[in-house]
């Protein structure tokens, strides 16, 4: 299993405070290449704050974020993206008044390494993979909610990500689309992508990840194989009453 290999991405003693609120406290974990990890926890446990910090959207108060041994804590978000740390958002944040194709080529062109023609070719491939090929000329805001989630995933893939962080990919999607998203995530992982999935939907998470980390009140309270972690009494306690929210 990938867990045995050395992590290419790790965070060490990461903390973020908002005034007196300790949103994330002393968080450490590592990810090996090809791993697929779930990050779960009740509302307000610090999951999204963690995603925001490890993608540069928020500056941590302390701690290190190592991408291939390079500490990127506090670097701006575009630097993380250019290093292949890609993300999606809880509510899709697309370039709504731009066509689907343009949404996809923005990340491809952002580090000046790729020409427009090759970016568009790659974007067509991504659209085929996501079964959105027929929508390339549509404006992003004309897409359904589920299609917007898929397009956002596609936009993240255009960064040729080393690490893909998916923030609530299963939230608010139609059951048929849920299966499709799960299939896409599994397929991306089979292709070698390292993926972190943040969600409340434990059933969906369990069907895709091999390892799960649990946060509660800003701290990591468990980390390991899915079955083992879900039996952990601390996790059960933290989750009591919240599973109904999924």
């Amino acid at each position: 299993m990938a867990k045995d290999s050395a992590p290419f991405f790790s965070v060490d003693a990461l903390s973020k405070h908002f005034g007196g609120v300790h949103a994330v406290e002393d968080l450490s974990f590592g990810l090996a290449r090809g791993e697929i990890v779930g990050l779960i926890g009740p509302n307000g446990s610090g999951k999204t704050t963690t995603i925001n910090m490890v993608t540069g959207a928020l500056k941590p108060n302390s701690g290190a974020i190592l991408v291939e041994d390079h500490d990127m804590a506090g670097a701006p978000a575009h630097r993380f993206a250019q290093r292949g740390v890609a993300r999606t958002f809880q509510v899709p944040r697309l370039f709504r008044r731009m066509p689907v194709m343009e949404n996809l080529i923005v990340p491809a062109l952002s580090d000046y390494g790729e020409r427009r023609g090759s970016a568009e070719e790659r974007a067509h491939g991504v659209l085929q993979f996501l079964k959105l090929g027929h929508l390339s000329g549509q404006y992003a805001r004309a897409l359904s909610g589920g299609q917007q989630k898929l397009l956002e995933l596609g936009r993240a893939l255009m960064l040729r990500p080393q690490l893909l962080l998916l923030d609530e990919p299963f939230a608010g999607v139609h059951p048929r689309l849920l299966e499709q998203i799960i299939d896409h995530i599994k397929s991306l992982n089979r292709d070698g992508h390292t993926i972190v999935v943040v969600d409340h939907n434990l059933e969906a998470i369990q069907s895709v990840v091999t390892r799960v980390m649990v946060m509660a009140r800003g701290r990591k309270i468990a980390d390991g194989g899915v079955a083992e972690v879900l039996r952990n009494p601390d996790v059960v306690r933290a989750y009591t009453g919240t599973r109904a929210n999924r």
Binding site: A77, A81, F89, M98, V106, L159
Partner: protein
């Protein structure tokens, strides 16, 4: 070879008309036309700043004043030769543009609008107060660029500047920079997460548009021969916004056409006094109601008979949370 679009035909036709106007028109309309080019430069560059990049700045006319005053003062106080004075004014606008761009990096929507409005008013009040240098409300005289009394050379200079500026801005928009600016307008956080260095492009767009506004101000100052702080009052900014919105805030040629139409309309209705501004307001309301993207893009759409209309302009639309 690709066939020219309706928009290109219209632009070509209007450019030909603009070139021919001085041959068929009297001095009054040539004078009016030459001033219209000043507004066209402002409206088109503001359309790039607000329509494309989503930076709803109210300091644009202040940059025109900065350019005009800097050029004039370089000549009067420092005895610079004219080309050096103009170059200095343009460089100053670029530096101040970069500074403002950097200051407003974290501001958007109404906060950006209020901040730039405050900066613009502070600058105008300094122009009023520093009478010893700027001559305050008496006005600062500015030397002419051309000898003789004809406005025709200014008319063609203004037209040339508009064509150059719109060409240069359209050139910029055709590159990946244009794509990034629109992505920033749509959702800055998502653009950053997509690898776009938003700081760099936001400052760049402030520099480019501030320089064009300053060039407009320099042209205007040397043409009219006198500058007053009134060129930076809020109604002037409102007029530039109305021109861009009526013509098409996301179309540079559209905003030029908007500027010319609004200014010519305003001049031809001069005898109605303040009522002409009421009419302008009504035109603005009607355009916002029936052609939210502006008149020129509406014309373009009719020509294309697009199946799906362009989504409506929403420069002030709040980004959705996530």
């Amino acid at each position: 070879m690709m066939r020219p679009s309706v928009a290109q035909w219209t632009q070509g036709l209007l450019l030909a008309l603009a070139l021919l106007l001085p041959l068929v028109s009297g001095p009054y309309w040539i004078h009016v036309g030459a001033i219209a080019w000043y507004y066209a430069l402002l409206a088109a560059s503001w359309a790039l700043l607000a329509g494309y990049a989503g930076q709803f700045s109210f300091a644009h006319v202040a940059f025109a004043a900065l350019g005009g005053y800097a050029s004039a003062l370089c000549i009067e106080l420092l005895a610079f030769p004219l080309p050096l004075a103009i170059l200095t004014a343009v460089l100053l606008a670029a530096v101040v543009g970069a500074l403002i761009g950097a200051l407003v990096l974290r501001l958007s929507g109404p906060y950006l609008a209020l901040f730039t409005l405050a900066i613009s008013e502070i600058f105008r009040l300094v122009l009023v107060a520093e009478e010893d240098i700027t001559r305050g409300m008496q006005g600062l005289s500015v030397p002419s660029l051309f000898s003789g009394n004809s406005d025709v050379p200014y008319y063609y200079l203004g037209l040339g500047l508009v064509v150059l500026a719109v060409g240069a801005m359209n050139g910029l928009l055709a590159t990946r920079v244009g794509l990034f600016l629109r992505a920033i307008r749509e959702d800055e956080g998502a653009a950053r997460a997509s690898g776009v260095d938003t700081t760099r492009y936001k400052i760049l767009v402030f520099v480019v548009t501030s320089v064009i506004a300053a060039i407009a101000g320099i042209y205007y100052g040397h043409f009219i021969g006198i500058l007053t702080p009134n060129m930076a009052i809020l109604p002037e900014m409102g007029l530039v916004i109305a021109m861009a919105v009526i013509g098409g805030i996301e179309s540079l040629p559209g905003s030029v056409i908007g500027a010319v139409v609004v200014f010519l309309l305003s001049e031809s209705l001069r005898s109605y006094g303040e009522w002409r501004f009421v009419l302008m307001g009504l035109v603005l309301i009607l355009v916002q109601r029936f052609a939210q993207n502006g008149l020129f893009p509406m014309l373009e759409q009719l020509g294309h008979r697009r199946k799906e209309p362009l989504p409506a302009v929403s420069a002030m639309e709040e980004p959705r949370g996530g």
